[in-house]
């Protein structure tokens, strides 16, 4: 989300994330708030799906944004801000996942289950997918879960995921494939 725009006509003011970083570093108090506004929802969605727990996800997001704020001067504009931010977020999520290791299935709270696909609730209910999905995601290895969510939920390219995670594209493809295979098995046979 580097540039703002609007489709239906009217005024377009194009302000990149990098502009906001510069403004924040120059002391504009609201510039970083704007970056939070732009990226919080996406970060929360990723963290919540990865961790399966809203409170952990919110804490991971808060940690990530605070750390990003502290490290803002180290952000290089050659990098996409969102990719830089996701690197920080992923590290925070890994810490929370490690803390939860061994109890990931228990970590899927009811609220998170309820948040899955509210617009297609009837269909999802009909498929019996919702709870099984959250539990299935929780059963993936953390690196597979991470790669699967970044690829198919955050809709990033393998090159972007590689830049964020530091893993090679071929390794990421393998992780996604294994995640898909495992999820398919778990969702077809939840027992």
């Amino acid at each position: 989300m580097d540039v703002t725009d609007r489709d239906e006509g009217g005024l377009f003011i194009m302000v990149t994330d990098a502009d906001l970083v510069r403004q924040s570093l120059a002391g504009a108090p609201d510039a970083f708030e704007e970056l939070v506004d732009r990226h919080y929802a996406g970060c929360l969605q990723y963290a919540a799906r990865l961790l399966g727990n809203r409170e952990d996800a919110e804490e991971a997001c808060q940690d990530a944004f605070v750390r990003a704020f502290r490290a803002l001067a180290s952000y290089a504009e050659s990098d996409r801000f969102s990719a830089w931010l996701y690197r920080i977020l992923i590290n925070r999520c890994r810490s929370y996942a490690v803390r939860r290791r061994g109890s990931m299935e228990d970590a899927t709270d009811n609220e998170m289950l309820a948040s899955l696909s509210p617009t297609r609730d009837a269909e999802v209910e009909q498929l019996g997918l919702r709870e099984e999905l959250a539990r299935a995601i929780a059963q993936l290895e953390i690196d597979q879960r991470e790669a699967f969510l970044l690829k198919h939920v955050q809709d990033l390219s393998y090159d972007e995921i590689s830049a964020i995670t530091g893993a090679s594209v071929s390794a990421l493809k393998m992780r996604v494939k294994r995640a898909c295979d495992r999820l398919r098995d778990l969702l077809k046979d939840p027992s």
């Binding site: 703002t4 006509g9 009217g10 002391g27 708030e33 919110e58 198919h152």
Partner: protein
């Protein structure tokens, strides 16, 4: 996020996984309490104690997070009257620049465009103005930045969508459109408006530096 069915063969998802992905893509609504906690944490970061650093011309302020940033927000002034006057001028100018940020309308604009923002060289932004006016034969942009001159900035028509891209200096600006040389209208998509001196409405925009 519309690539459910457009990934390559390696990423093709069967019906079971497509349903799973759709469910996982449903938004997680941020809770106010969490956003408030984050805002509070960030305020704490800004207010975190850093050593007070003496600056040029007798200006002294805290250096947030170890950086020294003389262009903004001097907190403590210890200087002669001349220096104080210069510092006050600097403070007024920098405060005007900072408060001339692009406001919440930038957040509501949402989706990414293909272009990148460009600096004007000074304080300001490149701004694109558009107006949907399929029936118009000519559309001009008028504002305080071009002397309200209908001949100064003409929009280009493409399928009824009139567009112009111009540099605008930082700050608060009033503007509007002139259709066919006679009909003055405000920007129908502007978030703010202001009364003009002629009993009509102008649109208002804020441009960051």
């Amino acid at each position: 996020m519309t690539r459910l069915d457009s990934t390559g063969d390696d990423d093709a998802l069967d019906a079971v996984l497509q349903d799973a992905v759709r469910a996982l893509r449903s938004p997680v609504t941020p809770r106010t309490v969490a956003r408030d906690a984050l805002a509070s944490a960030l305020r704490g970061e800004r207010a975190s104690v850093a050593p007070s650093v003496p600056g040029p011309s007798g200006l002294s302020h805290r250096a947030p997070f170890g950086r020294t940033r003389w262009a903004t927000t001097p907190y403590v002034l210890r200087a002669s009257p001349v220096t104080m006057l210069a510092a006050a001028t600097l403070l007024i100018v920098t405060t005007a620049v900072v408060t001339a940020r692009v406001t919440s309308r930038t957040a509501e604009m949402g989706a990414a465009a293909g272009a990148q923002a460009a600096r004007t060289g000074g304080a300001g932004q490149i701004v694109r103005f558009t107006l949907a006016a399929p029936q118009a034969r000519r559309v001009s942009l008028v504002g305080d930045f071009n002397g309200w001159d209908p001949a100064a900035t003409t929009l280009q028509n493409k399928d009824g969508m009139w567009t112009v891209v111009i540099p605008v200096s930082a700050g608060r600006h009033q503007y509007g459109f002139v259709i066919d040389g006679s009909e003055w209208i405000p920007d129908p998509a502007a978030a703010q408006s202001a009364d003009s001196d002629f009993g009509t409405q102008n649109s208002v925009m804020y441009v960051g530096g």
